[in-house]
Symmetry: D2
Amino acid sequence: MSIRIFITGGTFDKEYNEITGQLFFKDTHMSELLKLGRSRIPVEIRTLMMIDSLEMTDADRNLIAENCLKAAENKIIITHGTDTMAETAKVLASKAMKKTIVLTGAMIPYKFGSSDGLFNMGSALAFVQSLPHGVFVAMNGRYFNWDNVRKNRQTGAFEELR
Amino acid sequence: MSIRIFITGGTFDKEYNEITGQLFFKDTHMSELLKLGRSRIPVEIRTLMMIDSLEMTDADRNLIAENCLKAAENKIIITHGTDTMAETAKVLASKAMKKTIVLTGAMIPYKFGSSDGLFNMGSALAFVQSLPHGVFVAMNGRYFNWDNVRKNRQTGAFEELR
Amino acid sequence: MSIRIFITGGTFDKEYNEITGQLFFKDTHMSELLKLGRSRIPVEIRTLMMIDSLEMTDADRNLIAENCLKAAENKIIITHGTDTMAETAKVLASKAMKKTIVLTGAMIPYKFGSSDGLFNMGSALAFVQSLPHGVFVAMNGRYFNWDNVRKNRQTGAFEELR
Amino acid sequence: MSIRIFITGGTFDKEYNEITGQLFFKDTHMSELLKLGRSRIPVEIRTLMMIDSLEMTDADRNLIAENCLKAAENKIIITHGTDTMAETAKVLASKAMKKTIVLTGAMIPYKFGSSDGLFNMGSALAFVQSLPHGVFVAMNGRYFNWDNVRKNRQTGAFEELR
């Protein structure tokens, strides 16, 4: 069965607007990324929103949860801004779905040469296939249970709480 | 505990010699790749050989197997040319180690902008952490058991035998 | 004799801060760029300021002009934000130096894969060697006299006034 | 008037065949390169051949010369393998055309991230607009007269004969 990929925005999909000099969202680069990775895993990609995760509201998180619940697939990847990834993971875990849900993202936009996005998606796709049901964050080559992860704002790295 | 990474060469680490116009091996790009991926997983990297996998001999495969046996780690990634990855996997499986061993590689050298190497290593690191003991090939976002994989020479994709 | 390169900032040298998600200035990438271009032209690089050209003051422009006047070299390249490049060119032209001065920049930061910076610097280095004394803007593969150039804010392209 | 660009192959346009692991020629990347450089110079691109310059024959060089003679444009850029660039320049100079002809190329294929091709084309476009009639080689940020240039096979750099 396919893996479902939900896009919510975050650094991962930010682009540079060369007219205004600002970072902004246009379309997701997920298909391009999977093509670059020569991925042969069947996936269904759907964009739910295109926002900075600092601007994500409770309503947004509920929308993501509903989409996970309704999805035919039981393996789901969610691209997400790194700042509140742990918060969304908590909301998803509260729904106690019999699914493997992996949240991932990037510290550097995919379109900038030096992005970690390709590496993180490689990890997320592997974890979603091999981890049991539950909600996980996959960043920095590691995976974290939803209730044992935070982003260290000083270093930018994800780490365990205990 | 750390993950052991053994380097054996293959397309993954090939470089372009701008004086001769030939592809060649110099050093592995593994540390550079893991830095780009912002990987925070402790790893031990050791280069065993730097060869094209079409030139890999039985002696080379035994050397790889011995190093896997001797390694203190029970999670091992091996970068390898794609052409004979399945053959080396078979030799490793014959040793029946209580370890998780994942072979991976690239269709395009890491140093060429369009490489799948970063994606594959993201996958391999995730699979080696989450799969049970056994020998696996991780390519194209998928994993394959050592006894059920071949490279399709026409398409370049890895696929199951049955 | 060497070519003098003055750095003033602009999009060319902007970087992405992965902790804050903001664009910022750190160091110039000029040496790295010239190495990538395998440039064999002797150059002297000096950073005068690291600012967005929309924030450039009269005092800043006078500082640039003074440095051009004092420079031992009579071939000078200035990297500059694109928004007020034409304005700085006018100040430099008012000094009537017996030098060839070429202003250039980038629409996309050099550190983002899709930058025009390498192309523009290739052009600027060529123009400064082959154009007569005067003040010029080199962008989009073209050169413009200081008194016949503006940036089209809608398209991002440089064009002649008449 | 437009600038004419003739494509003849060389390292500039080589690609990596991920099935065979060999370098090969497919199409020229010139349009893609000029788009990346945001070039606004009108150009006419025509592919004359796609070969390694070590395999270029007298007949090939005559074909290039004939195309330069017949071209409506008097500003011509020729992309060319670096090994025999000086030889082709000599053949073109023997035709004594009232045109500015600039040969350029790359030490690293354009499709490999670390290519000097974008830099060299930026230079070549600038030199062809600003140099007098004659035949020149533009490499390494410099230009050379056809009768005073050779490629140093040890360093890969172009240098003057005297």
